[in-house]
Symmetry: C2
Subunit: 391 residues, 2 copies
Amino acid sequence: MYNIIYSQGGVCASDGFFADGVSAGLKPDSAKDMAFIYSENECEVASVFTTNKMTAAPIRHFRNMGEFTTNFVLINSKNANAMTGRAGIEDIDEILSTCTDVKNPIMSSTGVIGVRLPKEKIIDGVKLFDYSKKDSSSAAKAIMTTDAFSKECAFKVKLDDGSSFNIGAIAKGAGMINPAMATMLCFITTDAAVSKADMQEVLDEVTKTTFNAISVDGDTSTNDTVLLLSNSKSGAYDKAAFAEALFKVMHFLALEMVRDGEGATKLVTYKITGAKDDTDAEVAAKALSDSLLVKTALFGEDPNWGRIASTIGASGAQANEESLKISFDNHCVYDKGNLYFDEEMEKKCAVVMQHKKFTISCDLGIGNGSFKAYGCDLGHEYVKINADYRT
Amino acid sequence: MYNIIYSQGGVCASDGFFADGVSAGLKPDSAKDMAFIYSENECEVASVFTTNKMTAAPIRHFRNMGEFTTNFVLINSKNANAMTGRAGIEDIDEILSTCTDVKNPIMSSTGVIGVRLPKEKIIDGVKLFDYSKKDSSSAAKAIMTTDAFSKECAFKVKLDDGSSFNIGAIAKGAGMINPAMATMLCFITTDAAVSKADMQEVLDEVTKTTFNAISVDGDTSTNDTVLLLSNSKSGAYDKAAFAEALFKVMHFLALEMVRDGEGATKLVTYKITGAKDDTDAEVAAKALSDSLLVKTALFGEDPNWGRIASTIGASGAQANEESLKISFDNHCVYDKGNLYFDEEMEKKCAVVMQHKKFTISCDLGIGNGSFKAYGCDLGHEYVKINADYRT
């Protein structure tokens, strides 16, 4: 057995990791816009990237590196270095060549698509890095774009033999409305003595129920990236404990991203049960979390269950009105053809929808498939933010 | 050869057809909310319905009728009679039993989901119908829900032998943002001497490039319906002329629906060429017309071509940045890795985007597939309309 305890320090919670954020003049008003993560020891790396076919230069660059260990990640915001072709990759090579005393540095970018990196500013920014800093919060701030708040967390895992290891992370992402153009980035560090094979296997598995449950990867941006770095410094490891702690880290950050959905005021869990299989449940759950009409109904605090039913019907998942059941938290409004949506029920559901967090449950009544997706509402702020993101 | 001439009269332009709209008190302020279409002669019927699995009662009722001819369609707005189960179908039977002197009447509904029809009001409304009226405009008004304006059109086809026939239609639809919950309905009449087989074949074909090109059918509401009625009264027919005239009717109404997209200020054509095949082109074109981030950029009049590229990349269509070309009207901003988006170009594109109508063209540079989709922008009005549609 093991204990997993919430701790402080973000990516620097893991032993031997350092991080900081600086301002290189990419953002206005001297806001932090460049970050690094550095490890004393070389790290194994596991990764999950966007499935977008217009893959950004940093991801292409990473893939060109083949098998490697590293101790350095450089991140910039404000410019995604996407749709920049061969020049975008050459820019990365030139920038990383100025990062001295590090092994196989990795670069990651987020921001506007289709503009060459401001290379000179970034190279000047690299000179400001102090590798002895342990300021995960500054790094988290530096990678923000349309995020309203920075995102980091860490957990300590205590094993029964008295040994322990840490997992910590920073992330950015706020455009959780599909497709997630503002780009989701997450950098996770650990000092667990985990093998590269285990890292990748667990990361892939946990991604499905965390970042992929918030519609980040279904219809993704050009830059979406999750990197997991392990320097093995603790010497401690237990696979089940590692998987559970990694889930806690990624689940926490995924929900933080939804909570920070551009202009979002509500965090809604879409719980699908009784689907033909888990895949069908996922299809139905994501259709709900992505539906504009559902999102605007949430914003209006209108328990418009007809939109829920119609969205499931249109999702492609196997469903029919004779076996469907829909509830707002524990209030069932529709059950296998029976309408329970009288005036009193409408009031009860409207109260549920005034909460910042609630669950919409749909039992499709067909099989045993289930999935939970997470979504937010869509209001005027979203339009405002996205109508002039570039300018 | 033949001539196709724009004409007046909507569904009543076809000889022997009558129509009107009345107020039955479903909408407030005595607005028209019930319509009928009546033909002196019995009609063959062709149909296209929603693919939504939560099919509304009127569509189930229609399907239960099997093969039949009819001379009467009853339409109500404000209530969709969807998710109402067997009771919803029984309500239709009871209502239609009060429509006397007609053969195999059809009912169609649009409006809120999950509420039983106000049966008594509708039965009282039927009593107000005057089958001698030829007021297509009133019928078009009566079927509106969130539409800002009513939609109808008609064309006269003159064949070389001196004979002629008419096609006319009314339609409703404004929620052209996917999924189209506010429901798209279209009723088309013709006096062409067309066979039932030809009617259905041509209707299916034309739907692909008209109503299905505006994302009405990809992810549809519970009620989407297109009905084509022919009473053969003109005795005239030519298949090619019929197909072209039907395309003109449906294309016109499809673009009217986009122009009336809830809160929309722009009508944008997404022209995809060079795709692997036509299906891939359709996937890419619809991804653009459905993308929230593209829609909000349109609203902000921001030529954010990076969002166009990323959306195509995420669409599932075969694409890559090395062969892609993107233009706003005739201004090419990106061509096979070359960026032409300097300050001057940005200004030119911003001017294009200030227009009410323009084209975004993307050549995927892979094969010969092509497709045109039509979309609108998304602004604050959309949120306002949809946050409290039900109330």
